[in-house]
């Protein structure tokens, strides 16, 4: 499945959950019908064949819910998105630090900028260190 189709399917699953649920139900019901027919061909009575088909399928509602949930799951790997976020934070920290060092330090505004720069850089450092620790574990 292409990324575009995956994205369209994901949006569709959120926009039309009832339609997706009906589609899943139709698919699962087809399975039970096929199993029922196979059981009848083996010599079972229609009612018995249907009962056996439902039993061999398992929990129909649970399967239906699982399938619908998978359709609504975020389809892409979050790692590159997170990485992008960290890069954006680092860029922001750099920009803040650049602005801070170029401001006159004796004004309250300049001091405030410096404090913000220190806080952002500290946060970026801590996130980076945590990521590194997780990667080495």
């Amino acid at each position: 499945m292409s990324r575009i189709k995956t994205t369209v399917d994901f949006i569709h699953a959120w926009q039309c959950p009832d339609e997706i649920a009906d589609e899943v139900e139709a698919e699962l019901s087809f399975h039970v019908q096929m199993r029922t027919s196979a059981n009848i061909e083996k010599g079972m009575a229609p009612h018995e064949a249907q009962l056996a088909a439902w039993q061999s399928f398992g929990d129909f509602d649970r399967v239906k819910v699982s399938c619908c949930e998978i359709k609504r799951d975020f389809p892409f790997d979050l790692k590159p998105i997170k990485m992008g976020l960290y890069i954006a934070i680092a860029c922001l920290a750099g920009a803040v630090a650049l602005i801070a060092v170029n401001l006159p330090h004796h004004t309250p505004f300049g001091v405030l900028w410096q404090l913000i720069a220190i806080a952002v850089l500290m946060r970026a450092f801590l996130i980076g260190r945590k990521k590194q620790d997780n990667a080495t574990k």
Binding site: T6, F30, G58, F60, V63, I70, K71
Partner: protein
């Protein structure tokens, strides 16, 4: 191993689905039948558990689906292997062979 006790790991079921679709497009019921057939009826899976697996594999891009008309003239959703799915099947088979061989080696060790 008794048929009743033949439980399947998640990855194994995924591999079996890919293998079942290797021969051509099938609907969910057909995939279950094909797995039973290629395993000589040794692997019995709870039929419903097949579907979340199919949806996951489709999400990963290893299989794709399309509604069509089945042999008995009913509307059914057919699945087929994608190019990425074929590559994945080869990887899964190689991994499985390595794992099986290493496990056998460990079991035969004195």
């Amino acid at each position: 191993m008794s048929k009743a006790k033949a439980g399947l790991l998640q990855g194994t079921l995924d591999m079996l689905i890919l293998k079942a679709l290797f021969a051509g497009p099938l609907h969910g019921y057909g995939i279950g039948q094909r797995i039973a057939q290629i395993s000589g009826d040794e692997l019995k899976i709870e039929e419903g558990s097949l579907y979340p697996g199919l949806y996951r594999l489709e999400r990963r891009g290893w299989i794709e689906s399309e509604w069509d008309v089945s042999a008995n003239n009913q509307r059914a959703k057919f699945y087929k292997l994608t190019r990425a799915g074929r590559k994945q099947l080869i990887i899964e088979e190689q991994n499985w062979e390595r794992l099986a061989s290493a496990t056998m080696k460990a079991l035969r060790a004195n």
